[in-house]
Symmetry: C2
């Protein structure tokens, strides 16, 4: 199971790394989660420089593609040199987006007629791109999911694991990362958010 | 306000980057949050290589020092080449630890007689090091705080902001990062966790 978390310059650390951390709870089951970038290094909105684990083209053959978020998304959706490297297939791949990543999904035409979630800052631009924005943290339809608000990355990861490995594995991953003393409550809540879309 | 988030090889991404993301909501107020490492680059437990934003010595003059967590913490607490570079002062600095970072606090003698929080894996080693471990997500006493379970990093960040800038600023930071549709509930919960320790 190859999973690409698309991460661009000026990325929001929460939006790429929460999904990364939770999905890697499935590493022992053979899942391969990779921070996937358009260049060899990218620098976050708060000045953290990271090495790409994979080039952008890794996404085209991955089983799951998650779009992270960041301050530069409005430039990325106009950048043909980046977007032309992506050739995704929602019939064969699970595709998700976090916060401003939803704008990229919309511009790539991957939302179709489905409504979407995003953060409050990106909301007007997603509407301008032609999509309906929901006032909720998570929404999915078939193989496409979107989440809004950084910490909703947890729901995006829960959805991916529940879709591909079942709710028991998703519960186990959330149980591990949840605060001590809040583990059962966290599992119950995360599953309740994604269950209507499984 | 200089804040060092100590991040070592084999680090857990959630435990360094959730605090980083939330604390950086205070960047516009002049806060300077830096991923602080013993070498120029470190690589996470899931193979992500990052550039250090600051060398370890930055922690010694920082206003706040947070110890991240990772798979190598039991080696780090035996590594005098690393620990001898740290010279922290809990009378002048806020010092916090996430998950296995609590083991480092304990070994450095910074817990004194206070009980502590950590993750379930690290718990026996923290006990072995001489500290009492609580079955809860967050505990603080004066200038020292510990948190257990990756997502409890949110509470560590909330505590730092509430201590140094007040509860209103802490609420604003959590409001921003919380899932859409769950923002008020998230703020209320995070503040309720840290309030007894302010």
């Amino acid at each position: 199971m190859n999973i690409a978390i698309l991460t661009f310059d000026e990325f929001n650390e929460l939006d790429s790394f929460i999904a990364m951390g939770i999905l890697n709870r499935m590493k022992a089951k053979g899942w391969n989660i990779q921070i996937t970038c358009p260049s060899e290094q990218v620098t976050s909105m708060n000045g953290l420089t990271i090495d790409a684990q994979q080039p952008l083209e890794f996404a085209n053959t991955a089983d799951v593609v998650l779009f992270g978020s960041g301050m530069a998304t409005r430039n990325i959706v106009k950048d043909k040199a980046i977007l032309s490297r992506l050739n995704l297939n929602p019939n064969k791949q699970l595709i998700g987006a976090q916060c401003s990543g939803t704008l990229i999904l919309s511009v790539l035409g991957l939302l179709g007629n489905m409504p979407a979630c995003t953060d409050l800052t990106t909301k007007p631009w997603v509407i301008e791109s032609g999509a309906e924005v929901l006032n909720q943290a998570f929404y999915a339809k078939e193989n496409i999911a979107t989440a809004g608000g950084c910490m909703a990355s947890e729901y995006l990861a829960t959805w991916v694991i529940a879709k591909l490995a079942g709710q028991k594995q998703a519960a186990s991953a959330i149980h591990y990362v949840a605060p001590v003393g809040e583990k059962q409550r966290s599992v119950k809540h995360a599953l309740s958010v994604v269950k209507p879309y499984l």
